[in-house]
């Protein structure tokens, strides 16, 4: 195993990424489609050559090396087992390529198949395996190459949902102590397999933090979506001066003022860029704006609903046309341009949804207590 250091640009894909992965760390690479995740893997594997910059694996400069001399193995969505070779020959392929004798390569292949629980399938042809079995063999084959870095490109995306958990368990075991990058869209992969996350967007790294920090206080829309939260960007409103951890704070956002608690170790003054994180589970729905403070009340128009663990997630966008009833903080009052573009979500019970007759186009109020809105420094 070895560490990875990469600082490259690739003009044709508008990518400019700097990244360091210490020896033995598993990093989840996240981001929307087209963010550059697969391009990043291609640059590491050697199927793409950067316009500028360097790629170091274990201190070796591999920037100009062809894929077969990098010792970086790639596990793709599809197992891509060589169809004309048996399972055993597939796994023995890399050791043979490395110059090992036939018998030794086969012995090694059997060991690797054992690790992924596929020893009994050594003589099968890839065509005789299920998708999950084939992906296990693909893992064994990648391990048999004794790579310094393992790249995983959505390894479970093409599999049955019922098969993925077992395979995730296998992968968790084999990734122990290995340097690896895993591209995924699945929060479960991130939490079970990775220690750190890197979020790419538009060919840039927009977040690079521990998994826990990412889900607790995401800084990107993508990370907030992944954690099932709603993220509102704004600036600290003028008021009592500097805010410190635990203080009440009001943000000016596209939706209007948003009240929350400052949950950042560093203090901030008026005008500082900040983010407000709303847990949809803490949001309640009302026909009328309720009285009482300190609460956030946002007039919204329902866009749709989806089931979510026994609850219904109501997705809505902010509207600016509602009247200004008194009490609490009224989003509608000084909502800036663009409030309609802000998407909000609330998790409610099916009974509540029925009672409120929630349906697309319906105007309602989203209400959340200020104490339940996490506010922290943005960028």
């Amino acid at each position: 195993m070895a560490d990875v250091r990469l600082d490259v640009t690739l003009a044709s894909r508008h990518l400019a990424v700097g990244l360091e992965v210490p020896d033995g760390e598993v990093v989840a690479v996240l981001g929307p489609n087209g963010a550059g995740k697969s391009t990043l893997l291609g640059l590491l594997a050697g199927t793409l050559t950067p316009t500028s910059g360097r790629v170091l694996v274990g201190g070796r400069d591999v920037t100009r090396l062809p894929p077969h001399r990098r010792r970086v193995a790639l596990l793709a969505q599809q197992p891509l087992l060589f169809p004309h070779l048996s399972v055993l020959e597939n796994v023995a392929f890399a050791p043979r390529a490395a110059g090992l004798g036939r018998a030794a390569a086969r012995a090694l292949a059997r060991e690797r198949l054992e690790v992924v629980g596929m020893a009994g399938f050594a003589d099968r042809r890839p065509g005789q395996l299920s998708g999950g079995q084939a992906q296990r063999v693909a893992i064994a084959r990648a391990l048999a190459a004794d790579p310094q870095v393992l790249l995983l490109d959505e390894p479970f995306a093409a599999l049955d949902v019922a098969v993925a958990p077992q395979l995730r368990g296998v992968l968790r075991e084999v990734l122990e102590g290995r340097t690896a990058l895993i591209v995924t869209h699945d929060l479960v992969d991130v939490v079970t397999l990775a220690g750190r996350t890197v979020v790419l967007d538009g060919g840039r790294v927009v977040e690079d933090r521990s998994v826990r920090a990412l889900v607790e206080s995401p800084r990107s829309r993508f990370a907030a979506d992944l954690a099932g939260r709603v993220l509102l960007a704004g600036t600290v409103a003028a008021g009592k001066g500097m805010v410190r951890r635990g203080d009440g704070v009001v943000l000016q956002t596209a939706l209007g003022p948003v009240a929350g608690l400052w949950q950042d170790d560093t203090a901030a003054g008026p005008g500082a860029r900040a983010l407000a994180l709303v847990d949809p589970a803490a949001v309640s729905l009302h026909r009328e704006a309720p009285d009482g403070s300190p609460r956030n009340c946002w007039p919204v128009e329902v866009e749709g609903m989806e089931p979510r663990g026994g609850q219904l997630r109501v997705v809505a966008r902010g509207v600016t046309s509602a009247g200004p009833p008194d009490g609490g903080i009224r989003g509608a009052v000084d909502a800036q341009e663009g409030g309609q573009d802000v998407r909000l979500a609330a998790d409610i019970t099916p009974a509540a949804a029925a009672e409120l007759a929630v349906a697309p186009g319906r105007r309602l109020w989203f209400v959340v207590k200020a104490q339940q809105v996490r506010v922290y420094r943005g960028h």
């Binding site: 594997a45 199927t47 894929p67 392929f93």
Partner: protein, 265 residues
């Protein structure tokens, strides 16, 4: 694989379809009917026929080997390395397929003939190619190699690239990838291309006649013998033709109309 549901064709389509099939099959039937079966054995084993057949088999085999040796690398380079202008290069490779064979023969004559582009230098070195058995092989290779290249290139482009990339990340250098992954995966395309090239070489007539002439035992292959006997002994010509039909039928059946139809395209 499950069988695909049958597509309903309009009833009237059967009539032109049957007419087309008949058009293709009738001449073959005429040939079977027109053969002098009583003397068939004697006709196809006459000395001149045997000499021509033996020459045809040898030259077609040599042309097939040449096509393989040069055509396989050409197909791999066209499909994988994608050199600048590979589209134009592919068109160039396909040109002999659509060229009238007699034109091909003339072109070869202008290249390797006594006063040809290369021929005049070969002449100085004491090497004569035109109107020799070598010329027969060159003429056959000229028309046969494109079949192999196009067939193999089609197989290469139909999706072995992902396997090759995986093999490379597993530490296999390009030579090993070619030998252990690419070629085994395109083996069906390689086999059908080879058989097609052999069949085309065996049937070569126009280019051979123009570039190599018709010398018994040296350049007179079976198709040339058929053409010659047509004047002298029509019954022998028909019998020999039937031998070529049999070889053709064998090719179509072994390669399978499936691969000929470009099922992997």
């Amino acid at each position: 694989m499950s069988r695909e549901p049958r597509y309903a064709v309009p009833g009237w389509l059967w009539i032109p379809a049957a007419a087309g099939l008949l058009f293709l099959a009738l001449p073959l039937a005429a040939m079977v009917v027109g053969t002098d079966w009583r003397h068939f054995g004697a006709l196809v084993t006459s000395p001149s026929a045997r000499i021509a057949l033996w020459l045809s088999l040898r030259t077609a085999a040599a042309a097939t080997v040449l096509s393989l040796v040069f055509g396989t690398p050409l197909a791999v380079v066209l499909a994988r390395a994608r050199p600048r202008g590979h589209r134009q290069l592919r068109a160039l490779v396909m040109l002999p397929l659509v060229l009238p064979p007699v034109v091909g023969g003339l072109a070869l004559l202008l290249t390797y003939g006594r006063t040809g582009l290369l021929g005049r230098w070969l002449e100085v070195a004491g090497v004569h190619i035109a109107f020799t058995t070598t010329a027969v092989v060159l003429a056959q290779t000229f028309v046969a190699m494109p079949f192999l290249v196009i067939s193999l290139e089609g197989a290469l482009r139909s999706g072995t690239g992902a396997y090759e990339r995986v093999a490379a990340t597993l530490g296999a250098p390009p030579g090993l990838v070619l030998r252990r992954i690419t070629l085994p995966l395109v083996a069906p395309g390689l086999v059908s291309g080879t058989v097609l090239a052999f069949a085309r070489a065996l049937g070569e007539f126009g280019a051979t006649l123009t570039f190599a002439g018709s010398l018994q035992g040296t350049t007179r292959t079976l198709p040339l013998e058929v053409y010659l006997q047509r004047e002298v002994d029509p019954a022998a010509a028909v019998a020999l033709s039937l031998v070529l039909v049999a070889v053709g039928a064998l090719v179509v059946l072994t390669v399978g109309s499936r691969t000929l139809g470009g099922d992997h395209g």
